[in-house]
Amino acid sequence: MSVAPSSAASTSRRRFEGKVALITGAGRGQGRAHATRLASEGANLILCDIGDARPTSTPYDLSAASDLKTTASRARDLGARAITRAADVRSREQLDAVVADGIAEFGQIDVLLANAGIASISPIAEMSDVMWQEMIDINLGGVFKTMRAVVGHMVERGYGRIVATSSIVGRQGSPNIGHYVAAKWGVIGLVKSLAIEVAEHGVTVNALAPTSVDTLMIQNDAFWELFLPDKDEILHEEVVEAYRALNPIPEPWVAPADVSAAAAFLASDEARYITGEVVPVALGWNARNAS
């Protein structure tokens, strides 16, 4: 496997000095990478991830409480102040408490990275109501509830940057993850609509559309089997090649830090007139569609 070029995990630029970012799903994966990228550019952080009320339909274990502490500790090593909270993005009350605590601690929230999400697998014809509902509640409803908890504060201050994580399959269909696809298309509709509603208040709202990202969400037996359904024994190299085949730039996946690089651009003042936009961090997958 070739070594991919990489986005800077840290940078000499300090675009978030004096800024405060709230990141959901910050325990690990992309959320953790977002935290360290923004911390390396001067931001203070409000970090949250799911508490005890676990969804039952994911074929992998969700982030543990200790993961969130590790993220905070890495951000602090980069000079950030950070607070952590367990919060379920399905709960308005818990998100309202996170926002209130964050404002009490830092006085402001400038950036929201609505990153929390799950993945699970089933053809639509066989999908359980629970699997559908958990997906829509977390990956779409969770983005709505997080935005809803923060956006009033941003409008009041006349400044805000909201970046929600959709997916390259939020721009097209894909088998076996129809619920995920529906939620991610929904995120884009939500983002574009909120962008219009808050445009006059100095708040921009954008979405990221990554291809496969190298996190536990795809690096698990269920997803590996999805790619190689007829194999008794799956070799890691075969999985790498199967993922690589999806992307015009011949890499199997992007690193979490690559998604963070685009999130940081959209969250910065360099993107002040970019809103309602979807940025594909997708190794060119999107070149084959209209997005």
Binding site: T211, D258, P280, A287
Partner: protein
């Protein structure tokens, strides 16, 4: 300094967005091949003053003033041979090309049913074929460099929707998106990305001219810029009449940076939210 010792080729570099891109790259360490219209072949349909050769020279001077090397290369983007010669000169001088910014364009106004063949042809030749020519002349050298690279072309929000009175411009800009998405797939194995920026109105001569004011204020016989600004703003979702060339440069430099190595075949709208009402 994201572009230390990289070499950037910019078309339409005499003024406006192209000059802004050249100077921003220079400020972050790049040398610049600055290309703009050489007057060898007329452009008759543009309703605003076209760039003067002295303006291109001034862009190069400003790059040098920023401490970087610059070549001012007058050439018509409709002429592939001329662009090929520019690129050869740039290779001789700098030894490499890392980034192409295909920015040169004109904008003229007419309903399709009244449009002259000349107006159609000039826009398609400059705004679409000109981008092909710039890619055709430059990308082989980026590939040969073996270090990856970047192509960034400037389309428009009119490349994502229909727009009255600029059907030819919209056709060229939609076409450019098809061209660059296809190029992106072809050069992906070489770690070269190819992307498109889609601005709404940008505060340059292309927007600031009487023909454009009349288009936006058909209710007035002789509208001024002040008359037109609210109409420009009414198109945008963020309530500003235009974005600045520097805002476009922010996006160009992001796409050209290492941070965006995963992004290709994409359109990036820097459009005050016009795109929020679209896909």
């Amino acid at each position: 300094m994201r572009f230390e010792d990289k070499v950037v080729m910019v078309t339409g570099a005499a003024r406006g967005q192209g000059r802004s891109h050249a100077l921003r790259f220079a400020a972050e360490g790049a040398d610049v091949i600055a290309c703009d219209w050489d007057r060898s072949r007329p452009i008759d349909t543009a309703p605003y003053p076209l760039p003067e050769p002295a303006e291109l020279e001034q862009t190069a001077e400003l790059v040098r003033h920023a401490g970087r090397r610059a070549l001012a290369c007058p050439a018509d983007v409709r002429d592939l041979e001329a662009l090929t010669a520019v690129v050869a000169q740039g290779m001789d001088e700098f030894g490499r090309i890392d980034v192409l910014v295909a920015n040169a364009a004109i904008c003229t106004f007419s309903p399709v049913v009244d449009m002259s063949a000349q107006m159609w042809a000039e826009t398609i030749d400059i705004n679409l074929t000109g981008v092909f020519n710039a890619c055709r002349a430059t990308v082989p050298h980026i590939i040969a460099g073996g270090r990856g690279g970047r192509v960034i072309a400037t389309a428009s929000m009119a490349g994502r929707a229909g727009w009255e009175n600029i059907g030819h411009y919209a056709a060229a800009k939609w076409g450019m998106i098809g061209l660059i998405k296809s190029l992106a797939l072809e050069v992906a194995p070489y770690r070269i990305t190819a992307n498109i920026i889609c601005p709404s109105s940008v505060n340059t001569t292309m927007m600031n001219n009487d023909a454009s004011y009349r288009l936006f204020r058909p209710d007035l016989a002789a509208p001024t810029r002040e008359d037109a600004l609210p109409a420009f703003a009414s198109v945008n979702v963020i309530p500003v009449p235009y974005v600045e060339p520097d805002d476009i440069s922010d996006g160009v430099l992001f796409l050209a940076s290492d941070d965006a190595w995963t992004i290709t075949g994409a359109t990036l709208s820097i459009a005050a939210g016009v795109n929020a009402r679209n896909i």
